[in-house]
Symmetry: D2
């Protein structure tokens, strides 16, 4: 048993106690299967209300890669690929799940980072794509005389927060949305950590904004208070006549769908989802403050629950005896970028413990 404190990720713990409590309460109720139960209906209604999109279709899936694969397959024609940042989860860390479904991931160039005098220098765009780059990419695709021999850009994938903890501003989202809709391409927002984005003190983007600007997004449960589960929202309705067999075909239709419904019903009651998200942000800000106070250099100025710092390798070695962290990248021969993630259940005491070893 590994008893070191862990800041390695935001999926190291179970679920908010209210979820466990309700699971116990309804354990012997008998539910209908495959998402046709009352909890799924109730959760969907609450989500639609929170998003202010009464015509939305809502589906509950189990995990992130599964959701990305299923959604992207739903919104693309067979000859289309999905545009994403080079650092996007679908491009880099899903073992080819998108290609397994027959679609190419078309990547927009990443923004490189360098270390200058021990300070990371990189674009504030890190992890993100730019509307302007997207437009150029698509323009140049259609300008290419042989584009019928190429993979059509059929949809755009963004993550918010990104894999680097960064966020889109409302203006940025609006601009990307405009480009997508000009070219009749659905915009898909991966919200595996959506709560942490919405509760950032640096954001001007609300859930309603997202529901208004994108064509499909999901509200992450796995990393934000649920045992597991992602709530997929198509604000204007799902673009296929038969979503259920598509979900089933991807192995993504949970028999006891109410386990998902109940969790999201709980998270979307009395603002729980946002309240516990806020905890992660508060703890991340405290964490950052403490780190800066101790002279640590931030790799990125992240406004969400993932904090990235540059560590001397020697120091890191001793840290790892007491603390689990996320290895991010080797940035020079003597330094490593690590990720420290807070979550919905992180306590001030956890931060204090961590600081003993920093």
């Amino acid at each position: 048993m590994d008893n070191r404190i862990s800041f390695s990720s935001d999926y190291t713990k179970g679920a908010h106690p209210k979820i466990l409590e309700r699971l116990s309460q309804i354990n012997f109720e008998q539910q209908n299967g495959y998402g046709t139960d009352d909890y799924c209906k109730s959760a969907a209604d609450k989500i639609k209300k929170a998003c202010k999109c009464p015509d939305a279709d809502v589906f509950f899936l189990v995990g992130g890669t599964q959701t990305n694969q299923t959604v992207i397959d739903m919104i693309l024609e067979p000859y289309e690929g999905v545009v994403a940042a080079t650092t996007g989860h679908v491009a880099a860390h899903e073992a080819g799940a998108i290609e397994f479904s027959g679609h190419k991931v078309l990547t927009l160039p990443r923004f490189d980072t360098t270390l200058q005098d021990g300070v990371a220098v990189h674009s504030d765009q890190i992890g993100k794509i730019r509307a302007e780059d997207l437009r150029k990419f698509i323009d140049s695709f259609y300008a290419d005389e042989s584009h019928e021999h190429m993979v059509f850009p059929g949809a755009v994938y963004i993550s918010h927060p990104t894999e680097y903890g960064t966020l889109y501003s409302k203006t940025e989202l609006e601009e990307i949305s405009k480009v997508c809709h000009y070219f009749d391409m659905p915009l898909f927002l991966d919200g595996a950590r959506l709560g942490y984005g919405l509760m950032s003190t640096k954001t001007d983007v609300t859930l309603e904004d997202i529901a208004r600007l994108v064509d499909v997004f999901y509200i992450g449960g796995t990393k934000v208070g649920a045992l597991f589960g992602e709530a997929v929202v198509f604000p204007k309705g799902v673009p296929t006549r038969h979503p259920v067999p598509i979900i089933k075909q991807h192995g993504a239709l949970l028999a006891k769908g109410w386990l998902l419904g109940l969790q999201f019903d709980t998270l979307f009651t009395d603002n729980l989802y946002l309240d516990i998200s806020k905890n992660a942000i508060d703890m991340a800000e405290l964490l950052r403050e403490e780190l800066v106070k101790r002279g640590y250099k931030l790799f990125i100025d992240s406004p969400t629950n993932q904090q990235f710092i540059i560590m001397e390798d020697e120091k890191l070695k001793s840290l790892s005896e007491h603390v689990r962290y996320g290895f991010w990248e080797k940035i020079d021969p003597d330094h490593t970028v690590i990720r420290l993630a807070t979550d919905w259940a992180t306590t001030e005491n956890d931060i204090r413990k961590l600081m003993q070893y920093m």
Copy 2:
């Protein structure tokens, strides 16, 4: 809220209370992700011990269709299909999940059922395949001069219990296993309801027999006491160097893998899995006794937790006001076959309630 008592399936309830209890206990422990935690390790060890196959590889997946798709894709070459009964789950009820992975399901003819004087007449093979039919099928494949233009039979899929509640005898399994291994084809046993097969009073097949005779099988959790989860066992080891990316590629790698590990660890502690399976069998036998006593005709002489009876449509209509059942098939203009399933948590009281309406 549908408050009618339900015998419609064996996945209408949550999990055995011990599982919920342990989930609560470890809720704030911090686990490593993707099945690399201690609970998965412990559960795998207990399963290997129960199967007496120390060299097995064990993986924990979320649901049945997902497991079937992933396993079949692991054991087939690209030009191979999987042989199954026409009634097999992979052939009939997975929305094409196997074909989605690029593989054909090669079906052995089903055994038709007719109604004679109100009594269903069908082969005792219902839901099953026969070693002899399998051998003939493969022989005739290789005898066909154009078989290089056909889909190669690359593996065999059986379910135990079958979708019709029936079971293979040890001799039948041995014969099928022999044919498979003669032709160098892995044998895959879908054990979504394995516990209910093992605890049938009519079986001579043990968990060890299965581990000895098949190349891969799974121990169903979703229908037998877990919230969700299927434990895949490759008794002689998994036949690919990199199972993890294959699982990930199918969207089947759960971030919080320990949720699966913990559940199976609990089920394989103190014989819990088999004990609760026995309850379903006891209740199914009671159910059958009561039904026969009341003059109901059994559609199949099922030795497991699924009981199939022939109902007059008029009677069925009034039953449905009080009871949820599984519609099976329309067998003649006035009669319908329905399924009544017991499970790990069915009580004598439930049976008694049901009998009020029969």
Copy 3:
């Protein structure tokens, strides 16, 4: 070098001499690639005229399996399969090319053949599907409460002539077409041997009938006078915005597309396609006459260029020293069904030579 005369198939020879002649004539003309040349345009125009469907889209592909795979992928939603006869080429002899594209082939039961007193007894439906069976199949699909967990019947595949040389009557085609359109399913007709069907003396189906009744079909060149090539016709237009990348994605876009255009342009000039098809029918009728005269039993009463007879195995052995034939099936321990195929270039002399050994 195998110098035995061959009646084994209709793709043993090159092309009609006019095709070779024109290929030589234009050999050093410089054409645009990928089907954008003038010959493809001209051939398409002639085909549209012959079909009386001026709004058709016409594509030229290389071979039959490739065409079946590409067309079926074009007309199906991802969650749909294609309905076909169990004996259909897509179901039986394409090495899983349809499943490779992610789609299930849903088969309608074949019509078994038995040998009674040395005479084959089977349905005249052999190789075909019946409108009534199709309707029942689809009705029962939608009647099944769990059909969202099954593969949707999304299109219907028929071959004309079938793999057994049989033909649909106009009435049969109309009925199938009606069922398809009632359920909003495209009807796809595989015309790999279309010329031989159209020129049968037993048919009442014309090219215009086909263009009127089906949603997509192809005019086979490989087996009817071309070196290779199949002309795909969508009488009401192709149902995808971008057919070219789909064709390319299947590896089916020939760089020198004009090779296909020129061949079909030649075949559809001065009625050549039908004229040479008629030769195969004339020779098939002569062949049959001679066989019957000699007491051979026909396996099927085939109205097209493929003739199937029942041979004693001993006799067959000596025949095979002089003649290549198509092995069809072993029908009893002492008899074998063989196929003898005539083609666009078979001569009376060929038949005479064959008869020396019969």
Copy 4:
């Protein structure tokens, strides 16, 4: 009819006259289907002899994209992708045919080109990958702790000549081969224009070198004297037990396989393939000389049959009234890179005609 002279590509003409002549000669011989004929055997034997690899397996496919898709699917595990240059044909111009087969194309960064004082400045690596970059890429893949969640680099694709007309030196090939084999990754060489690479006056790479250094390659026919066709060579044998159903499954098994066999048999008799390849090189050198003489700036110093020059847009406009060329890229607001390709049949007279307009 477009009567402008064309230098737009090397697939604008038919085949070497000897091929057409032999096609006519054997037109009414009766051949066995699917590549089991004598011409395929003879062609394979001649190719094996030319490559000095008697144990090779040789297959004949129809076109380039089809061949790339089929070969890559043959040599990869399901969880593997193929490494290629960003400019590689499989990465950029096959409409997602590789992803359609379920595999990701992992790209090594391209080498950008800039225009300085009207002169293109770029790496001599253009179109190629470097052994060192490949090694770094793979090293960093395995160094990444989460690489089991990523697409494994399973094989390497290079083209020779590249899409930019450039060539690998023998040393470069040896180094790439070494890296591939160190990591147990097959090396696949796309030789769609192989003849033009082998006959370049700037190369030190022979056919034998290629057969020795790579695991699979193909000898392009479509662009080098054949009507169509690519000869795939696995010098050490094909790595699957059943290549035929895989080829069939990709729609790539030509019924009249002898059309391919006969063409390659002709090309590999009396050195025809290399002789006609040399013509393209001679003409390309003459073309370049004339262009340089007239002051045109070369975009790349290409040693093969594709020549790339930088044109003023105004000049280009008038050129296009008389000449078909390949648009390559817009390099600045007033200049465009065009491709002028010679081929096996280009004459001095063709060059002279072109020069009238330059």
